[in-house]
Symmetry: C2
Subunit: 362 residues, 2 copies
């Protein structure tokens, strides 16, 4: 018999995303899968129940489904509502919250963590970290424009010209590139910096200049390695000098499992022109700016420091749509012709992203 | 002896602009004018006192200056602080708040209203209505993007493509054109509509489509005439059909001295796709959208309706800079070689923008 996929309403404070959107529900239904959506699951994304129903979903209790799909990690109470033998798919934070994985194992749940999908080309369509980082980068550039006391584009008026804003992005992964592209679209002059010199070409490909501080730190898995003490001191000093010249600085530098590196010191902020902006996307990991207050907008030395948390939730429909497509791609890897979830455990993607598995399963 | 120009701190709630910025202070000082800036006048725009001092201003009491420059109309208390024989320059709302002009006359003040500067080419550099509308239009597009649950640009990801947002601007004056240009920069597909068909070329010049509803209301001298009842009903119906197809609608339609026309009915909002956005720039005059709550963000029929008030104040540094340049151009028309304000009352610009004048002056 075909499997049932359940979509609960997300319960985290401020979370407006939902794991599936109507378009993706339609695709699953076409594969023979039955979809049950909790009433109000799309509310935060302004997607009414009726849109899910039109797409073929039943509105009802999602927790008794064979496969439950979520965005954020389940609470202990939510884990309690999962049946033994059920499958859960979602961001599960396996590295930072191993207790969630333990609780899922104890509950007899087979769980796939979206974060653990290997970064191989066949799995690109399932890469939810990247899709959500794209949203975060776009929103970060909008936030920088919103909190700026200045125009981003050049302006020619009868009373004279306004120069375009200058925007520096520190840490050029998926989010950083999207921030650069968006700031450029808005008319700003953009510059990117990363400790991995090989991203310079990507930075240039979105119309930005590459800031060369003369320090390289290429690490494993596409992330940066940690810098030595001397390198760090030199980087800090050169960055401090560079940062002060920009109207807006967007930081996105993360080192997995560690506190985010400090890239913008209090002194650098003090050196910035009054009215400038720092948007710090690393607030959840302590921040890239020394003066960041996670989740807050602070004005220090006449500079506005914005530290948004969970930016993808601020653009809930498309963030959900991209996430849902990632989930769909993963589900499609598990579905047989009858619309039943039947994972092939020899598949590298499934084996790697599965963080806990029902005993005897497969 | 050269004149003194005073710059008070604006006191209206939410007002972050200031009438002069340091760059313009420098220009005035170079002309021999003495400038006195109230401590904290630039605070809202994140311009510290020190920047004014560096530009040559004295930090002190601005109210005893020969010429006081403001952004918003003075309160009764502020009028009381002006000396008899002083000059005041600012937005004075002479049409909607004639009592301000009366109080200024009674206080023996010569006052120039920035709104009353004639729209002739020689006065373009003084056109503060246009410069502030430019800011409002830019911010309106940013607000639409911020409140949208969707991306404005097209996005190509490994999991598929996201279509660009469609943005409709109703009322294409200075603000509307800037909103179109900004939404286009962000990657949206843009469309403009106005009852004056001659602005179609301007709409196309910023990369937008022209929405032709087949109703023209060309009045005399290039202004719009009022529509007949039948024309209005037809416009409403055709607009209602058109509006529902857009991800974001930005409205800017104002008729001087009247309530803003209703362009987006409750029914049109109900017909929009859930998650769409209306940004209504006419909130201060009652709104162009029937469901607008001035100053609020409301969600109705799963559509977000944003009605910002005083948008120029949300980008205070550049809004102030443009305004200050407008004021500077007006002041330069009055300054003699010694840096003394000595208006030539035969000048059309000065005669027209002066709303009350000290008896026997000139």
């Amino acid at each position: 018999m075909s499997s049932t996929v359940g979509v609960p309403r997300e319960t985290n404070a401020g979370e407006r995303r939902v794991a599936l959107v109507p378009k993706v529900v339609e695709r699953l239904c076409a594969r023979g899968v039955r979809v049950v959506v909790e009433s109000g699951a799309g509310l935060g994304a302004l997607i009414p129940d009726a849109s899910y129903a039109e797409a073929g979903a039943k509105i009802g209790d999602p927790w008794s489904a064979d496969v439950v799909v979520k965005v954020t990690p389940p609470t202990a109470e939510e884990i309690g509502r999962l049946s033994s033998g059920a499958t859960l798919i979602g961001f599960l934070a396996p590295l930072t919250s191993p207790e969630t994985v333990t609780a899922l194992r104890d509950a007899g749940v087979t769980a796939f963590a979206m974060e653990s999908i290997p970064r191989i080309s066949r799995a690109q369509s399932m890469d939810a970290l990247s899709s959500q980082a794209t949203v975060a980068g776009y929103r970060a550039a909008l936030l920088a424009a919103e909190h700026s006391t200045r125009f981003f584009p050049m302006l020619t008026t009868a009373a004279g010209t306004v120069k375009p804003a200058t925007v520096l992005v520190l840490g050029v992964g998926v989010a950083g590139l999207q921030a650069l592209a968006t700031a450029k679209r808005l008319g700003a002059r953009t510059t990117g910096y990363d400790v991995r010199p090989e991203v310079a070409d990507q930075v240039r490909s979105v119309g930005a200049q590459w800031l060369d501080l003369g320090i390289a730190a290429v690490g494993e898995g596409g992330y940066a390695r940690e810098l030595t003490e001397d390198e760090r001191a030199e980087q800090q000093q050169r960055l401090e000098e560079a940062v002060t010249g920009f109207d807006a600085v967007i930081t996105t530098a993360l080192v997995p499992g560690r506190r985010a590196p400090t890239l913008v010191t209090a002194q650098a902020v003090e050196g910035m022109r009054p009215g400038s902006v720092v948007v710090d996307l690393a607030g959840e990991s302590g921040g890239n700016c020394e003066l960041t207050e996670p989740g807050e907008v602070a004005v220090r030395h006449d500079v506005t420091i914005v530290s948004p948390l969970n930016l993808p939730a601020t653009m809930p429909e498309h963030a959900s749509e991209l996430y849902a497509r990632n989930v769909l791609a993963l589900l499609e890897l598990m579905l047989d012709d009858a619309g039943t979830v039947a994972p092939d455990w020899t598949d590298e993607i499934l084996a790697t992203s599965c963080v806990t598995r029902t005993e005897g399963d497969g």
